[in-house]
């Protein structure tokens, strides 16, 4: 699909961070080599060799997609995201491939696709995956959706709603890539945040601490809404229904 390139559709300056989306594939590979045990390292080496040699589809499902599915039990859940991002990167998965893998994936696989997007897709063609992820209620998927790819390509309206959803569901705004640049001088986001704070206050509920942080980024001169005695780090229970 094509979308107009506008002011927000520019490469993000922020390339350092804590997620596989903000870590270079080479650094991810070094990290895994240092931390995987022998059997898992051998499995990963073979999986990457296969992905490099046969990046396309062979038969009903390509070998690298099978490796993607089993990465959790081979590498351990704590290393699965990084291993999957590496496999996707090595297979040179394009927009069509990441779209197929996302829609046929478990929550963990979908997360890895979202993390891999900034390494794999230059244009906005994979935005439907980000938009799908932002409609989910699984906060781990939402957190993966607001990475550097979303920072580069998500429209202002959807990006503001993504930030608000993070506040609402308890995803730390530290997960939002390039937050400072995109929030800067965003009067509409500032209005939405103030309204949300007023709604929470009217209900006698705590305002998430992250809200004030984002509000300051939108408008450093703004007078923050009156703080109630109690402050929370998240909304009520992350429930959006």
């Amino acid at each position: 699909m094509t979308r107009p390139h506008t002011a927000w559709d520019t490469p993000a300056a922020d390339t350092e961070g804590t997620t596989p989306a903000r870590t270079s594939p080479a650094a991810l590979h070094d990290h895994l080599r240092a931390h995987l045990d022998g059997a898992a390292r051998a499995w990963l080496d073979q999986a990457l060799d296969e992905a490099a040699a046969h990046p396309g589809i062979r038969g009903p499902i390509s070998v690298w997609e099978l490796r993607l599915a089993e990465a959790g039990r081979r590498c351990g859940p704590e290393h699965a995201d990084a291993a999957r991002v590496l496999i996707l990167h090595t297979a040179r998965a394009g927009t069509d491939a990441v779209t197929r893998v996302y829609y046929q994936g478990t929550a963990a696989e979908r997360r890895s696709v979202l993390h891999a997007l900034p390494h794999l897709v230059d244009g906005p063609g994979a935005l439907p995956l980000v938009e799908d992820a932002l409609r989910t209620n699984d906060t781990s998927v939402v957190a993966a959706a607001v990475g550097p790819y979303a920072a580069r390509h998500l429209s202002p309206h959807l990006w503001r709603h993504a930030v608000l959803k993070c506040l609402f569901t308890g995803v730390p705004v530290a997960e939002v890539a390039d937050l400072e640049r995109r929030a800067h001088a965003d009067a509409e986001l500032a209005r939405m945040l103030a309204d949300y704070a007023a709604e929470r206050t009217a209900a006698g509920r705590p305002v998430p601490e992250d809200l004030y942080r984002v509000l300051t980024l939108c408008d450093p001169t703004a007078t923050p809404p009156a703080r109630t005695a109690e402050h929370g780090t998240r909304g009520t229970d992350g429930k959006e229904s």
């Binding site: 997620t19 599915a69 478990t106 929550a107 997360r111 998927v141």
Partner: protein, 282 residues
């Protein structure tokens, strides 16, 4: 008391149930793919259901400190609907997923030729994917259904030690045990087994290869029946070790045959799962 419910349909249950289950000691469960109250009419609605068993439901369970795995299959009742049968062709891409610990529920409902075909094909899929199989035994004509089930298992590539035959009772336990299969019992408020009869069966046949489940779903059922059985076992003189064997170690051993059981989950903060790699991931 730590409890592993080896058969419960959490899709049909509320978060109150998750909370009560955790309070009762449930720390792990397996949710088998099965029919719903309303019949499905197209493969796509199965795929959404399978995706939910691999996405949303484990997330819900994790919020209550419960490890969630699933079994995937085309159930026997809906295998009779030619609109749903194409689901069989798509199963391989699900059976490779990390959280899938068996093929199931398969088996018989009305014992039709279409059910014969689906059962045999899915036992082969289990063998191909190095997974055990969870086999439902029918509600109607149960003993004949069990015998026919065991015949098909014997003809399959899957050894009986990798098969769990479920919903057993007094009339079917002996033949099931003689077959070498694992033995599943569903404890319900009205039908199937109750706590007293379950304890009597454990006394008569021993705890070896026995799994007790609540099979709680959208019908009258109780997700705490596993706990009730454990309590009655203790009251009737079974040891804590025997209770642990039936309610934890046996299900871990059976589903562990998949090599995919991951019980590391404690009460981790769900919202932090998305950023594991360089933040305490090592």
């Amino acid at each position: 008391m730590r409890i592993f419910d080896p058969h419960i349909h959490m899709t049909s249950r509320t978060t109150d149930d998750y909370e009560a289950m955790h309070a009762a000691g449930v720390r792990a469960l397996v949710e088998p793919a099965f029919w719903l109250g309303q019949p499905r009419t197209s493969p796509a609605s199965f795929f959404d259901y399978f995706d939910s068993l691999l996405g949303w439901e484990p997330f819900r369970a994790a919020q209550y400190g419960i490890a969630h795995h699933c079994t995937i299959a085309l159930n026997p009742k809906e295998a009779n609907d030619p609109r749903c049968a194409p689901v069989l062709d798509e199963l391989p891409r699900y059976l490779v997923k990390d959280q899938v610990v068996a093929v199931g529920e398969i088996g018989y409902d009305s014992m039709t030729p279409a059910e014969d075909t689906a059962l045999a094909a899915q036992l082969q899929l289990a063998a191909d994917h190095e997974l055990p199989a969870l086999v439902h035994t029918p509600h109607r004509d149960k003993l004949a259904g069990l015998r026919r089930t065991l015949d098909v298992v014997r003809e399959s590539a899957l050894p009986p030690g990798r098969v769990l035959v479920d919903h057993l009772n007094e009339t079917t336990v002996k033949e099931a045990k003689d077959s070498g299969c694992w033995l599943g019992f569903s404890v319900y408020p009205d039908t199937k087994m109750d706590e007293e009869r379950m304890v009597a069966i454990l006394r008569a046949h021993g705890p070896e290869q026995v799994l007790v489940n609540s099979a709680a779903d959208w019908g009258r059922s109780d997700p705490l029946k596993t706990r009730r059985v454990g309590e009655l076992m203790l009251a009737e003189g079974f040891t804590e070790d025997e209770v642990d064997r039936v309610l934890w170690r046996n299900p871990v051993a059976f589903y562990g045959l998949s090599g995919r059981l991951n019980l590391a989950l404690a009460a981790t903060e769900a919202t932090h799962e998305g950023n594991s790699i360089l933040r305490g991931g090592a």
